[in-house]
Symmetry: none
Subunit: 323 residues, 2 copies
DNA sequence: ATTATCTAGACAAAAAATAGACAGATACCT
DNA sequence: AGGTATCTGTCTATTTTTTGTCTAGATAAT
């Protein structure tokens, strides 16, 4: 099958080696011996390419090309494997003394945000997370930080990009590091936002609170249509739904969307969380959802729901079986 | 059946090749042998057009026309396939020793995605990350996984929510865990996408490659306006910019946006990365940016740029001081 | 008359080859 | 440590080949 011969350009692109290097390796170490076409141009086989790719990787790992150029494919693959496993041993996490207060994290974060230095910011977050735990990380560091960045943005000291940057990182950090709890959680809660809603950071905050209240949050992101919400709710066997609404977005469709959701999910409690849900009071009442204005109310509602479910654990998903 | 014959003008329009080129390819390499009408004009069949389109794509991809002109349709399709897939899989080897465990991660991930179980998926990712390292995690697990999920989505076995779910988690995971290198990296590269572009996962993939080539990626997300890009570029003292473009999005504004960026950032090299930048060839050439088609090319460009910078380290940010 | 197409040849940019040089690392040897 | 030698990726200069484009003159179509 390897009838196809490749010109040096293609080899270069596939291997990431410059044509100069490829020729040098041939000239100096006979790493590959491509045949020539009638016109003197090199024509490489698939095996040549494979070998060059291996060589490229191994040399980037620190070996000298002269030592390995003459090896055959199998030896090279063995080599790459042993090199690979050797690097694993190296990367062990250093023990970090728990220094510093939240204030230091804050200042360090600001600096990292100013420089758009993601790795610095993340390592700060990691340390803070270890020291403070998820909830306090959010309340004591993230919240004031995002507040501060938004203020600075408004007066022009920081840029929109920097706000996006930090929000994105916080979001990802929470998403990846929030679910570290080892404790057994049985009750699941679906956290999402209907179509045209986008405040992901806030939603992740709710995830944390839920986890803190012994609920297992199922977070499926925002801008989710009614039937996707239904599907996720049934699929993950949640016993509660929290919809996050954000009045800043253009939300003329929200009332209708809420009605659609309710028509699909009839039996269960649905909480609506948002800073200013009073705009939608009427629809909320009409659809029989419970509006939640702040974290305290959320905690109360979560506990109430938990007791309710513990009381009648079986009935909840009766509906999903009719499908 | 295929009685319809096409004049050269039509062929030119359909293939994107100039009539001159089409004739030259026939004269020099007998790429196609159109019959002539009574008047001596060339009349091309649908198959001719198909072949010319394939030839066009392959030559754009770096092969020489003289090498491929005489191949038949099937060989050409194989070739385009292998070149294409080479850009995707690229670094992954056919038989890696860890295939067994990767397979387990894969199956476990599918299950977690089905259940929308974020914590399970993340802990799988974490283990895989430790075992494979960032690059192989992406190439051997994430790429096939996302491919599979998208396929399942298309045939309806998985839902849109589940695709969003896994993409979001992968994105966050990469963002948080990619920058773990301890090595000293001096050169920074800004990775972003202009307004109305959104393929974040791909961008994070580029971040990994950059890191692998000893560049420090500054990732500021997508849909960034020209002046925000300028700001980030100066603020973080990058010496290189990579713009990721995604032709799927509605991108009628892209050419103008590129011009705007170039007008703000005159002196430095700007790379454009995307699967099909051909569409924008003209603007790319006009703005003097370098188009990058695949990871191999990116590696080359990064190395070249690094050498360029090492050679003249001071001149680079002279411009930002005139402000 | 204008436009499109054809042939044949010419041209310049790009790509590839060879040989040699150079400079930053790395290794080796006092 | 310090000096020397080697390694190695890149670059230069020059030649040859490839290849897209252009020109000019002729012919046919609209």
């Amino acid at each position: 099958m390897s009838e196809t011969k490749h010109p040096i350009q293609i080899v270069s692109r596939r291997t990431g080696l410059s044509p100069d290097v490829i020729r040098a390796w041939e000239r100096r170490y006979k790493a590959v011996k491509p045949n020539r076409g009638a016109n003197g141009r090199r024509l490489y086989t698939d095996n040549d390419i494979k070998k060059l790719m291996l060589l490229q990787r191994i040399t980037r790992g620190g070996r000298r090309i002269s030592d390995i150029a003459k090896l055959n494919l199998n030896s090279l693959e063995d080599l790459i494997e042993s090199d690979q496993s050797a690097t694993f041993v190296q990367t062990s996490l250093a023990n970090r003394p728990s220094t510093g207060s939240v204030m230091e994290y804050f200042d360090g974060s600001i600096e990292a945000i100013r420089d758009l230095d993601a790795s610095k910011l993340i390592s700060l977050f990691k340390i803070a997370h270890q020291e403070l735990g998820a909830v306090f990380l959010l309340e004591d560091l993230f919240s004031p930080l995002i507040q501060h960045v938004r203020d600075e943005c408004r007066i022009g000291t920081l840029r929109q990009t920097q706000e996006k940057f930090v929000v994105e990182l916080m979001k990802s950090f929470l998403l990846i590091n929030s679910s570290n709890t080892k404790k057994q959680i049985k009750n699941k809660v679906l956290i999402t936002a209907p179509i045209s809603q986008n405040d992901n950071l806030n939603m992740l905050r709710l995830c944390l609170v839920c986890e803190d209240s012994d609920w297992m949050p199922i977070y499926i992101g925002s801008s989710i249509s009614a039937d996707e919400i239904l599907f996720s709710y049934e699929q993950s066997k949640c016993s509660l739904i929290i919809l996050v609404v954000d009045p800043n977005e253009n939300s003329q469709f929200l009332p209708n969307e809420l009605r659609k959701i309710r028509s699909l999910i009839k039996d269960n409690e649905i909480l609506i969380y948002g800073d200013s849900i009073y705009y939608y009071q009427d629809v909320v009442k009409e659809t029989g959802m419970s509006s939640i204005n702040n974290i305290g109310e959320l905690r109360l509602a979560l506990n109430r729901a938990k007791n309710l479910i513990d009381f009648r654990p079986i009935i909840l998903h009766a509906k999903s079986e009719n499908n």
